[in-house]
Symmetry: D2
Subunit: 337 residues, 4 copies
């Protein structure tokens, strides 16, 4: 099959290339970039030197020749590109936020005017462990946000306890490495300014908050999630702690998580979620804890923000919509150390 | 004056030396170490080479000759040393946990049998910004835990809103650099194993939780705090996020914090707490936020775990009990970058 | 085929597992460990959880059932194991230093008494780009040291200029991440003690110096190499600068390097060697420069010390001795970022 | 006294402020910035919040009112400002390269046309340990480059052996943290792109090479130095290895270094130079080694590039030209850890 990456110059675009170039079912990978068209891809993604010796192309719908297109573009641009591609029979995995929330008003409140709301209803939310069936049927998949992936996978299993937890006071306190903030050099991401430090940012009102809440309501109908991120001095990885009050039992809770995800290749229920055990892979490690005295659960989850939180999950979605084994091309084993 | 550091081989002991050696009122600093007695201090704290060319001494109460003794020892050992020193008229700043919680049963539940509970009542909790008066009168000061310092300074100002917040569901999600875990080489702290990663640990039941709660009840009588720490890939610094539900107002909240701490040299109310702006100094930076929609406040606080979270605060306490200017020896300006 | 890893608990052993578990020609991987026999491998190499759910075994020659054995053991132990394995017809890739230097006296000067010097003559030095033919014929391969790999690949092409360079004054100044120093927790490798700093160590007399020199004499017969390593605050990667005086030409030099390695998949001649472009892969990036004024060449080379510097190269050697495509199992693309 | 910092917005400017604000002889510190005039200094150097609540000013010679001016400006701008300030009787410590090399042609070859070469003769090279007397007499001091400081302090003591070493083949292989590359956000210094990696840059022809050589010729008249820098994944610190061939003796060498610097407060001859023992302080740690077999000395030196390599040394120079104790304001003790 042939894959097209629209927006190949960012870290997510590069990561898609890395995975797709080693994917056994993918014969051709083309990357476009508005700003870098005509430049060698390996001048930007220098680790690809000697591996991928082609140039970024201009995005040109009329010449698009692919089975699946990945939209690794900013929010607002996914919806510019998706309809044309779908119209040509090209399936779309959109890594922007544009089709993640079916509630148009909610989307528009956090982002911008939606240009093709009629597509919202048919887009599948691309979290395979929870919505595998829908994704397999879809021609348009909305790939989840990175924080959303970590938080939703941690909290969805609590659906079974929905009457025993206080769904109105759920806190998600998450920490991300700097690759989540993109390629653009800014003072905020200047090495000297960020290395060795932890900084709270977007303490309230982060755009992943409505996404997390909207999707989780399929499991916990009344849930209200308060989300706060922190920038951590590392390149890759998200560690998310979800704090939930309720009358549970620690042993049961852990057993339930193991059961809930027991058939999932990419989800491991572990003793202590640690980003180093998942980065550079498509795994999500989850650790549920319960404090009997405080009647509080804390569910930690760890992912690589660029793999399970973006490009890896996108390929997992591609595998589903193409009818491949869901794990194809995603067998990378994480590193130690 | 003369200062004695019992337990000088750890990071807190080294940091005490660094501060006291440049303190204008301190003429003599002696450091003891059980394991390293007879060895040069600068072989352990190598940055002191050429600055402090003395050896670690055996701890010997009968020869102790100091105005103030700092107990930089593990929990359980502070109470071994304090009575003897006090008996000789030496004032004590205990950096172990032994005198932090006046409730003997609570202490013993989390630590061990207390050997001199009669001293619990007279020990002042060494958080000068909140208990300056008591500290100034005391001969025994219990220096707060590092996480406790960050959390209590962030939450105490909420006392004024005690009837408008849900004191039963307060979450403190804190992250610390590795120096907080001490000098002992272990796999957990081996560079390869920890660098570049974030790991949840002691997700429930951390010993600083009862300390935070016990002290905060002087401001928020019914408060119940759930505390979860994360190990972050950096050497120094704690960033603590305190999440509190309640019916507040964001502008008021910020103004109140600025007002509450307006006379405090070492506390700065800032836009976004960032450990890099405080490490290597005695500052605590605090950022209060409020999410009107979720009716949730999040108060971030940042300290250097070894300075404001340990040795710096201990010297601040020494200044108070000796009647010096509270800021003496603590004028270090943090670095950029 | 079946692979046996003797000494599976270290970082090199873990890296061998990671590569072999995804190798298309390897059906079975067994790992032994003296200290951890009976323990789950994934308790040590936690990133393997859910991927390899077997235990470390005792090393037992009589039960050894493998086509190739990898000896990921300390120096002195490779020669204990190799003869027995060879006697059973099992090919051996020895990652210890025991068979790297055919000059017994030189080996014994830097290491210890050799127990089977008769094997020295038949061991191939496992640097495929330079000794592919010999390796393909061998049943015993001495896998090069990590620093040696970086230095030899950088300097061997200078053989063609041997009469124009001063072979008596070659400096190799190399820097390595901390994973090269192994798994044992020590103060030297304690996160706090090493993060954020650069330290010279083993400034003269490092054991890789005679290895580099001995092998390079096949290209530059009179060469004398002075080698000095530095510990760098990162987990993986070696950057080696080889400084050579001589009457060369910069353009020619670069062209010669490109030509020398033009058929090599794993060697890239690049503008500026950078460890980030090679870590987690089997690539070696090389940058030759020439300063006309000073008549000095500097050849920088970058590798992942655990991959091209150890386990990856070992698998490359296995591929050669088994007659597989040399690149099998080694197609990992490095990351950005 | 009053200090003026021209160019206060960079890291060197910020570091000057940090040191001068705690300097016992300095009553007033004014910082100018072309780009940030009118903005709060603490918005740029955020760690100064609550400590220095003034704005950057426009540079205005006619209003300049200071005893000493520090020129923390790019090369080419120091010579624009110095004559005017000197004309008003203000002493100048120039941190640009403009007065470091008295050989006008050599300066112009590496930099630009010199605008006031008549001042070259009177500028003292501001390395107090070597040129204390000249500096004390000067009204214009050229503050050394960061790499130059590390290299010259390491090599100058070899002057005594000048007939026993090969002065034509001296290699300086140095590594610097990222703060040496300045405040401007670029891809080169973007956290993701630089963290965890080592990169060679400016392998030949770095501007500090002629400076090092020019100054060292006062000790080693015929010396030719080949200099190559590497960017290291840390914020502060330079580790420089100087490799020198010659017929020396290791014990003598070390003793000579200890003797050469025995009266120097800021230079420590140590077993293994390590940046962590010097960063955030004005120390330079030096480790001389000698390999008898190879007849090679390697002298490692470690400094904080922003302190001994820039602002700290500038204040040391200010102390000399003002007749203060050379150590005033520079008593900061480095940290552990």
């Amino acid at each position: 099959m042939k894959a097209l990456i629209a927006g190949g110059s960012g870290y997510t675009g590069g990561e898609l290339m890395r995975i797709l170039l080693n994917h056994p079912k993918v014969q051709d990978v083309t990357a476009t970039s508005r700003s870098l068209a005509g430049k060698m891809v390996a001048d930007t993604h220098q680790s690809l030197r000697g591996i991928y010796e082609r140039k970024f192309e201009e995005y040109n719908l009329s010449k698009a020749d692919a089975d699946v297109a990945f939209l690794a573009v900013p929010h607002g641009e996914g919806m510019e590109l998706a309809p044309g591609l779908l119209g040509k029979g090209i399936k779309v995995v959109d890594l922007s936020a544009d089709y993640r929330i079916r509630d148009r008003a909610l989307y528009e409140r956090y982002y911008t005017v939606h240009k093709n709301p009629e597509l919202l209803g048919e887009a599948a939310y691309g979290l395979p462990e929870l919505f595998r069936g829908e994704i397999g049927q879809a021609r348009l998949v909305a790939n989840p946000g990175c924080y959303s992936t970590a938080a939703i996978l941690a909290l969805a299993p609590l659906g079974v306890y929905k009457n025993r937890i206080d769904v109105t006071k759920v806190i998600v306190d998450a920490k991300s490495g700097t690759s989540g903030a993109g390629t653009k050099p800014t003072e905020f991401l200047h090495h000297c300014e960020v290395d060795g430090g932890l900084k709270i940012y977007k303490a309230t009102g982060h755009r992943h908050q409505p996404e997390i809440e909207y999707i989780l309501r399929r499991f916990l109908p009344e849930i209200s999630v308060s989300f706060t991120p922190t920038l951590a001095p590392m390149i890759r990885g998200i560690l998310s702690n979800a704090h939930v009050f309720g009358d549970l039992d620690g042993v049961d809770l852990r057993r339930h998580y193991m059961d809930f995800y027991k058939k999932e290749r990419f989800i491991r229920v572990v003793d202590a979620a640690y980003t180093k055990n998942v980065v550079y892979s498509n795994f999500c490690d989850i650790s549920p804890y319960y404090d009997q005295e405080k009647k509080r659960a804390v569910v930690a989850s760890a992912i690589d923000n660029l793999v399970k939180g973006a490009a890896g999950q996108a390929v997992q979605n591609m595998n589903l919509i193409m009818g491949f084994d869901e794990k194809e091309g995603l067998n990378a084993i994480p590193y130690h150390p």
